[in-house]
Symmetry: C2
Subunit: 346 residues, 2 copies
Amino acid sequence: MGLHRVVEPAGVLPQAAWRLDAGPEIAANEVRIRVERLNLDAASFRQLFDKHGGDGAAVRAEVLEIISTRGKMQNPVTGSGGMLIGTVEEAGRRSPLGLKPGERVATLVSLTLTPLVVTDGLARWDGLSEQVPCEGWAILFARSIAAVLPEDLDPQLSLAVLDVCGAPALTARVVSRCVAEGSGDRPVSVAVIGGAGKSGSLSLAAARQAGAGRTVGVVPVAAERDALVAAGLCDAVVLADARDPVGLSTAVTTALGVPADVTVVCVDVPGCEHGAVLATADGGTVIFFSMATSFAAAALGAEGLAADVTMLVGNGYVPGHAELALGLLRSDPGVRGLFEARLAAD
Amino acid sequence: MGLHRVVEPAGVLPQAAWRLDAGPEIAANEVRIRVERLNLDAASFRQLFDKHGGDGAAVRAEVLEIISTRGKMQNPVTGSGGMLIGTVEEAGRRSPLGLKPGERVATLVSLTLTPLVVTDGLARWDGLSEQVPCEGWAILFARSIAAVLPEDLDPQLSLAVLDVCGAPALTARVVSRCVAEGSGDRPVSVAVIGGAGKSGSLSLAAARQAGAGRTVGVVPVAAERDALVAAGLCDAVVLADARDPVGLSTAVTTALGVPADVTVVCVDVPGCEHGAVLATADGGTVIFFSMATSFAAAALGAEGLAADVTMLVGNGYVPGHAELALGLLRSDPGVRGLFEARLAAD
């Protein structure tokens, strides 16, 4: 678990630590990666971008400062990180990850707990995108997870998919369960808030594959609506501001004909908890994947609305998540089109 | 839902609002309560108490300031509130709550969304306890929930139970499901972190009633250990610091013989997410009831540990929660003893 890498405070796990020891010498169960690219968490990048008013040089300086101070890339405000891509440089003889030097991998654990050193001052990054070209090294622990990048896919495409692969996996699990428990006389309805985004589009595809009878994708702007309609990932696409509880729930309920059995929140803006709860049927489930989610707002919001909904903290780890997400990308041209368009625009 | 009471920002639900209109004139679907006591959320009170270094007068002044500024008692730091007790003064003719003037009630929705005016300057409160004697009024909306206080119980006792009644109800639901799905050859094991507290002791009793085969209560100090052992609510009681992930998980696993199938977090201190995840079996469930829970710490912690656990945001509303919790208090002398001792100490 990397406890020996925690510098302060003592006794916590690496993710909760303020500072990690990112020294290059690896323990027998560790792996050192030569980093080639970081992929910042969307909520983290947005916070930094907004804080500095879109000044890329200032964003870059703060990211460098965070990494050098903390020994990891964890945004102190959002608490979130991202992931990275690189090449295995050295694998300890007792590492259980099965990685070999020279393999190109993506880490599937968060940067918030990954010891990291940057050696090029992020000179090739303009500070204006979540994708950060980077030289340096990172350390993986015994319990980390890393995926060898598939040879049939562009590495950036794989990275973008693997970054959010927990979302479609958990959505599939919840929807499957809902379908299995249903009486069968009524289709399971699923709403994905932020349906045109990375985790959102994969979640829509996963919900359909898992047997959802009717799906709606909610998006904030017309361009995303058009893109999601063209992708053909869901039965309906609606425009709504996810921070407007009444507007959101009305849009979802109208599009589905009923409130959603499962609502998946994939938008990285604060204040979507109440709308998601209101859009969900009694006895239904809300899955929160956004790192901008407020625990208190969700808990007290549902209570305040007397809403009997199950609310899940989106766990980024579900066994088989990488394979499931890469499989959706390969099999669903709509998903692939959205991802490729997003990468081209970055 | 009380949207017309939201002053700023416009369009959000009352819980998310910065400021509510707490005017005494009620709409046709509202109810006005004459308040006699507030019960502050434990996390909120602790934050205020710590901030002011135990200076009760300063705590009182800040609570008054919050209520007069916001039109509700919502701690701006913790985001949490509490609940209140009082007497129905006027019920609008279209209120669906079924309340009559003169009935003594406890509100089961949070103070964070309840319009509130204090008229006595909290003169009878020393600022040193969560229980706040108080004069003033509060407004209930159509979708609010309030329980008429039972005549066979001390009102303060009822209030203390109703304040946390969502915890035992959700615990019972999750444990029952776990028992029903189990193979039956292995008892369902449950750990409650903060087992001697209000929500913790009720959750332990609820877990046992729902069929848990083995239960452990985790407490931070010897006095709570002794009290919980004497109450006889669980099969084992262990001392551990919930903020120490390895210490907590070792203590739980040792006491149960296995990791917990269901772990319930009821301690109002930050930093318990990782320990709770580590203490839980693969495929198990963690229920977070503490308002000090960090969404990001839970989500990223489970991912970072590659832990396949279901994490639930503890929803304070479960149908039948008030009756279930009051029933446990009546039927379980151990629960009742802990509650009465706590009230006597306040």
